[in-house]
């Protein structure tokens, strides 16, 4: 592996990174689909036509039809609403709670750090599956409850990553310098920790979005309730898995939609990260 390249980072900075643009474009499409779904397809996503089941992709049904002859394209279009809500609500919740816990633990250190992180250990060792059952069984199989289950299972992850990076930042020279100059608490966090933490957390957030999507479809795959009357990509993929040999289009299109959406969000996140990077700010 050739590591001795001449100044790669500097050079890259001058190039336009295409991926965030592509990502942004696709993501705009997803939002467009979510808003204008009823105008983009003539089909009702829940209309059952048993005689038209398992039709392969055609002009009339570009993505084919499923077990009940429902139009897969219509379900994918409507399903974008569900995925936007589930994905973003759950990741935002986990980032907010987990990130705060991690920064607090890393910043405070000592006993507070220990208590907070052991709390995270407890949460992590508690299986997400049991948590999901607990929530679904007591609250029902709705969208909000799925989001709550996903948030809880992702909090410790954010907390640990945030903590590790916070400690690292704290140890770095400039914090020590500020501290010796009399900087304290909140100001230190706002001025030095958060900006330095942001790039890593953005990468982590965009990556966890994938986990959030996977988790909601995995829960259904494992037989833990997700209400099937709302079109949902994760649900469609897990339903389509048993059809992979005989009607692969049923799972393929929503699967591709999930994958491309996550891909685009991640590329967007990369672009955002480059903008927020404090080192970059200095360079401009």
């Amino acid at each position: 592996m050739e590591l001795a390249a001449p100044l790669p980072a500097v050079k890259r900075r001058r190039q336009i990174d295409l991926l965030p643009i592509l990502g942004g474009g696709f993501f705009a499409l997803v939002i467009f689909a979510a808003v204008f779904a009823p105008f983009l397809t003539p089909y009702d996503p829940n209309k059952i036509t048993i005689t038209a089941r398992f039709q392969p992709p055609s002009l009339a049904h570009p993505f084919g039809t499923d077990d009940f002859g429902r139009d897969v394209l219509a379900r994918v279009l409507y399903g974008s609403r569900t995925i936007l809500i589930t994905g973003f609500a759950s990741v935002a919740g986990a980032l907010l709670i987990g990130g705060s816990v991690g920064v607090a633990a890393g910043f405070a250190g000592g006993r507070a750090d220990n208590v907070l992180m052991r709390l995270m250990d407890i949460m992590l060792s508690f299986p997400a599956v049991l948590l999901a059952i607990l929530i679904v069984a007591s609250l029902g199989a709705g969208l909000v409850n799925a989001i709550v289950a996903i948030i809880f299972s992702m909090i410790p992850n954010f907390a640990r990553i945030a903590r590790a990076r916070t400690i690292q930042i704290m140890e770095e020279q400039f914090i020590l310098a500020s501290r010796s100059l009399g900087g304290y608490g909140i100001w230190l966090i706002l001025r030095h920790v958060l900006p330095n933490l942001a790039p890593l957390m953005i990468v982590q957030t965009t990556a966890m979005l994938a986990v959030a999507f996977s988790l909601s479809s995995a829960l259904n795959f494992l037989g833990l309730g997700v209400d099937p009357s709302i079109p949902d990509w994760g649900l469609m993929v897990s339903d389509g898995q048993r059809l992979i040999f005989d009607a692969p289009h049923v799972g393929f299109f929503p699967g591709a939609a999930i994958t491309l959406t996550i891909l685009s969000v991640n590329f967007l996140g990369d672009g955002l990260r480059d903008r927020l990077d404090p080192a970059m700010r200095g360079a401009r």
Binding site: K11, G109, L124, F126, A210, Q241, G255, T259
Partner: protein, 335 residues
Amino acid sequence: MSLRYVLERLIWLPVVLWAAATLTFLALRIVPGNPIQSVANQMLDRAAMERALSEWGLDRPIHEQYAAFMSSLVRGDFGVSMSSGVPLSRLLFERLPPTIELALVALVISTVIGVIAGVISAATRSRWLDYSVRTFAVLGVSIPWFWIAIVMIVIFSVNLGWAPVSGRIRAGIAYETITNFMIIDCIITGNWTALGSFLQHLTLPALAIGLTSAGFVARLTRSAMLDVLRVDYVRTARSKGLRERRVVYWHALRNAIIPVITLQGLQFGALLGGAVVTERVFSWPGVGRLLLDGILRRDYPVVQGTIIVVAFIYVLMNLIVDLLYPLVDPRLRYR
């Protein structure tokens, strides 16, 4: 200093385990259903069900059940599965080693592939290489796990015939169980046929997990390396010769290793109880399926015992990860 830190962490261990066990105990009693009810509907009459409940002590008040659970736990007794009467020690002996084997191999795969891909992506001058690594890193994490698993089966098992679909070993091959770590047992007994078959069976599930988490590792590595490369080290490197630049790259890589170790430590813990999907698709006899089946059947002792053991290994892994930090990066001291 460092010894004190380790001791302090170790003191926390039983507290974490107790809390996990207690939470699990409570959660199981809150959710509807009990170990007998799911068979009760058609298999037995009410009298038989009530007899079974009372024989397992499930008709007693919750606090008494909790006291009984805690007192046997303190004695190191995980109890007996209420749906099958099999001691948990036996179930864990059967199910834990396959999961650990799978998780370790998957971890090695994801670390090697992820770090290499991340470094290439961060250090290369080729934009296209960077793009493709980044694309694949995200693809790996964004395709639903069971979909990757089944597609791998379709390609490599059904179409190409390179690897078996499922299970831990080919049906009908004789082998001896000593530690139930197949690699160790096969080497001890010199059973190369079984070892070969085991490795074949291990390949697809380990790749399915390894490749998906390699995406995370690659992204973290790339991001952490760029952090360093962008800051003033680059300036330093620019002003100096090639040798120094190489030093900078190593520094950048070392910087990347901290989040990677953190992530992999977490991943290993998560894989112990959370590889359910992969274990399900590949019929891998792991602890994730034991836990899921236990939860679905409301088999209280199975769920409680499994979670305690998984939590134990998990907390231990975290401790090891934290202890590794200063070794990797001497700037970080125990605090």
